[in-house]
Amino acid sequence: MAFQVKTSILSNSDGSAELIIGGTKVLVSISGPIEPKIRQELPNQASLDIIIRPYKGLSTTREKLLEDKLRQLLQSIIIRYKYPRQLIQIVVQFLIIDEIEEFTCNELNAAINCCYFALIDADLALYSSFVSVVACINSGNLLLNPPGDILINSDSHHVICYNIENQKANKLLFLESDGEFTEETLFTILAKTVSEAETLHQEQRKIIQAKIENDYIWK
């Protein structure tokens, strides 16, 4: 499953990326570190302001839930102690989605992967790289990156995010599962998605390599 990524597409934000993965298209913009409002300011680390906008309509509790999940992940990956009393504002705008409202996994997966490229573009300090994979169990078979119509009939689905250290999947940063499954199935899924995460990371490297060459095009 390939990414299609464009970085630095919003000229007024500090970092931005647009990502197409499967049937989901998402745009992330990052401003930061910038001056926070007094109520957002934290004395010893940067505060995160995450805003998720749905592909149509206004944001609801569903988007708030996604915001919380994304914050949970990003606050452990950004070196926030490097930017005390500053604000990092992350806006995620979905453009095309491929799942019904009851599901969030494809969107969450796309948002996480797109945030990585936007953070790279904004040049914010990260503890490590990360990559996210979405998988579902459909009548006993493991399927990666399920399209929306298969997702409806699946028994369970999982969003798995690994941190990448030294080009290997190292730690499990984030795991979000829904549906009926046993502990054993979950462990099998984790075992099988590691290699997928590592191939995706190689793709991330290629994309970033191209991005950096483009940044220094005038050299």
């Binding site: 970092g15 300090a125 950096i212 095009i217 005038w218």
Partner: protein, 260 residues
């Protein structure tokens, strides 16, 4: 180039830090633990040099948001004052830095420059601690208030560094073939540029009536300088996104309408 690409989380291949005196620059983070450990935190090109028992590591990468560092030359806009200090904005939405009333060449309590909001200063960062408010000063030669007839615009931070630090950089040399200009480059991605007399304010009405022939001349040179300034700005903005062999073409396109 590919060999030295480094991403957050990659292994930092450096000499043993217990034996080498290590200096770290941008893109490297030192864990605040008893056992010092360095990790790369930003994507970019790793620069690593060793000399007898010293080593220097940093990562070169592009960004748009400026974080103040000591001795950086920056361009800022005065946005207010608190107590003894002016508040100077180095970038939109960034936390303002402070500029002491006394931090000007030859400033005394009685004789100090009176800056208004919106005026542009060229200064050097003196306090860059992330824990407290940052400070700049305008004491060095060349620093101080930049006059209103220049044009201030933004470029990417890596491009600003290239222009300021690389004396043999081709960009300004090419521009010098087309016009005379005065330039101040801030590491914070702001550039102040002025061709000839620059962008002059409107001549006052009373002066206008005194000698009309003279004013006609001033107006035409003024318009010409303004056109050259804008063309030079356009050229520098575009130069960030093209290869060096296309640079001359870009320069000619930008100055096409001006020279006739």
């Amino acid at each position: 180039m590919s060999s030295s690409l480094i991403l957050p989380g990659d292994n930092l291949e450096i000499e043993d830090i217990s034996q080498y005196k290590t200096t770290i620059g941008p893109g490297i983070y030192k864990f605040p633990t008893r056992e010092p450990k360095f990790i790369p935190t930003q994507p970019g090109i790793l620069n690593h040099s060793t000399q007898s028992n010293k080593q220097l590591i940093y990562i070169e990468s592009n960004s748009k948001r400026y974080i103040p560092h000591k001795n950086d030359l920056v361009i800022g806009i005065v946005v207010g004052s608190i107590g003894e200090f002016y508040k100077v904005q180095l970038q939109d939405f960034s936390t303002p830095v402070l500029l002491n009333f006394m931090s000007f060449a030859n400033a005394t309590k009685k004789n100090r420059p009176n800056l208004k909001n919106g005026q542009v200063v060229y200064g050097k960062v003196t306090v860059d601690s992330i824990e407290i408010e940052n400070e700049i000063e305008c004491i060095d030669e060349g620093c101080g208030v930049l006059d209103d007839s220049g044009y201030v615009f933004n470029v990417n931070l890596n491009f600003a560094r290239e222009l300021l630090y690389d004396a043999n950089s081709i960009f300004l040399k090419l521009l010098a073939n087309k016009c005379q200009f005065e330039i101040a480059i801030g590491i914070n991605g702001k550039i102040w540029l002025k061709c000839g007399e620059g962008v002059k304010k409107e001549v006052k009405e009373s002066e206008n009536k005194e000698d009309e022939d003279d004013d006609m001349d001033i107006d035409s040179t003024n318009v010409k300088d303004l056109k050259y300034t804008l063309a030079a700005v356009e050229y520098l903005k575009k130069a960030q996104f093209v290869k060096q062999d296309e640079l001359k073409q870009v320069l000619n396109v930008c100055f096409k309408n001006v020279e006739n």
